[in-house]
Amino acid sequence: MDAPVPLFAMTGISKRYGGVKALDKASLALHAGRIHALLGENGAGKSTLIKIMSGVVQPDEGSLEFDGRAVRFPAPAAANDAGIVCIFQELSLIPDLSVADNIFIAMPPRRFGLIDRKTQRRMAEEWLALAGAEDVHPLAPVKDLPLSRRQMVEIAKALARRPRILILDEATSALTAADVGKILAVLKRLRSEGLALLYISHRMQEIEELADDCTIFRNGCNVASYPAGTKSHGEVVELMIGREYSHVFPPKPPPVQAATPPILEARGLTWTNRLRDISLAVRPGEIVGLGGLDGQGQRELLLALFGVLRGVTGEIRIEGSPVAIGGPSAAKAARIGMALIPEDRKTEGLMLPMSVRDNLSFAALGGLSTGGFIDRTAEARAVDEMLRLLAIKTEGIDVPVATLSGGNQQKVVIAKWLMMAPRIILLNDPTRGIDVGTKQEIYQLLRQLADRGVAILFYSTDYDELIGCCERVLVLYDGRIGRELAGNELTERALVGSALNIATDTEEAGYAPAIGA
């Protein structure tokens, strides 16, 4: 095997944010016609590295070479012009513009100097089809699309720029399995066309399927580069987290007695056309999973239980007695004791510029204040306890929560709700985009909470997680509970099958009666 000159090389890159070293003399080389996987925990420096590659952030030291020539990218536009396009984890779509406008945002087709909307619409349709998103209308405003469709549009947009180097940063995290399949096929085709691809994902099976080369980052530095397939799962994870890799999921206790009365019960919950006649029960000490394809009503179900949705019909019972939950403040009251760990930690879970202390104590301020004034000592004590319990890595409790890594931010979100000692916890895909180590800690924490008698309703897009953590999984399809899986039935095959609603009538699946339950 010869070692040709890399298409793109970064050497000796360092970057500091304040006192925190994000990158420390890191290097990376990409070759044309190969897919390079970048592995590492959150906070390992992957995001900073690709931000430098794509011109969002300037390195403190080090050099970039493209085609053997030294380059500098002062802004994202410069990197784009050079042929480097990045699909960011935080979506870069403009909500008020149409899909077609977004795909051609930087270089629309023109006629007489003006944007040619007809051509643009036709080309957008072609790129959407190439990305496997034929179902998206090119004139639909992006703000009306669900998250998974937006991510497909994002990919179409990147392809339309005809990049020479394509960076995908967790670009498949919100996608359904079918979409991921389409995207992987597209990426393989791009590789055969001679592009260099840099692929970042927490999903090992995608990396195994795609990658030619792998580089592992840890603590701001590349610790290992190797041809794909030469290291075992265990070795890879060990290199990433730098510690022994034991069981990812804590052992499950025996199932909760069926006779135990449920603490949370829903009967016939219905909301617009997104939730249809949902009935479920969660007992103390149980972790119940919500599965199914993305966007089948799981998020809406959690929001309905938390009192965020208006016009929900049906009944919610807490400890057997019906309650009306008018909003989050009613839901978290001691009488109900419900907490919702939201999906989008940056907007719904945290106040990014505020301190770790303020973020942690917000939901529990009622219990920490006397006569409307916050008891600072009681607050500090409670906050310290949470930092210890969840092993949150922070420089202090008064630094802005925005300076923490993604995994630690997510821990703050969880800790914030634990401070009010909830009896019922609803989780909305809490491990999306966080590292293996933190995930493991979250699984352990959920199990501990359940052992203490907390009832947990857990939505995840990751089937492994549902299988590993939950006693029972309710699979949603088209706003109803399509199937309930428990014990030995709980396999990946069964989850995927029921998520696609394969077991029911295929002609009019949407109106087929729910089976099971």
Partner: protein
Amino acid sequence: MSDWRYRVAEHRSTLLAALVFVAMFAIYVGNHSAGFSANVVQTAANKGVLLAFLAIAQTFVVLTSGIDLSVGAMFILTNCLASWIVVGSAAMTALGVAGVLLAGLVCGAVNGAIVIFGRLQPIVATIASGAVYFGIALALRPNPGGDVSSDLADMLTGQLWGGIPASLVVLFAVILAIWLPFRRSSLGRAVYAVGSSEVAAYMSGVATRRAKFAAYTLSGLFAAMGGLMLTFFTYSGEASSANAATYTLNSIAAVVLGGVSLFGGTGSAVGAIFGALIFRTINDLLFVFDLDPLWQPLFLGIVLLISVCIGSVRLLRIRNRLDLFG
């Protein structure tokens, strides 16, 4: 197949503003003693066009999710300037018009530069710059007076064949020559993108600074067009602080009535024009229904409040409370 549905949805707020205006104007002429005559339309048009220019000026900045509180001052400044230089021979007059428009461009560009490079909030930057512009206007015209080429003034404020008001034609021509190309250009799209999500626009390689700069500069240009038209109507210049303040506030009201979102990213100058015409027609309606002039500001305020509420009616239909904050 359903393309037209998306196109209609895109222009819904503009169409709604147009419908409301047509309905109100019909009521107005229906109750006017002179009925639907060329003179009634001309008077209404001339009053409406002034505010329409300022509403367009405001639209550019509001689309970037900014606000321009100096449009009134730029309007007055260019009015005072025009009362000095838009005089004399045809060539001199033409040169004068160019000078006034250039002055507007410069004022707008200064606003843009302050907001972009000074990193100040638009509201603060334009309050300050507006005060400066008004100061210059006062220096130019300590007392009301001056003159303007009456040939040009009469041509642009009179009637064309068939009683069509010339001022409306000017407005129409400007929309055709500037707004429509702008809307179809990369620059225009960048302005919408910046207002909708500046971070996403930047990450997509959109020239966000250029877009904002263009928006403020165009705002100055349209304020200057308004200032020119004011001079043509009054044949003089006057540094009136009351006018500067009223027109600034009314331009914001017109933009809101015309369906341009103050959060940026949606709406159009055409909608803002109808917003301005609606706002003027309310005044006229009060007149034909013989309401005491003392009550007019109060009544206008109530109408504005109601219309803003109607604009937010969708919030009542929201089924997911989280959308309230979007």
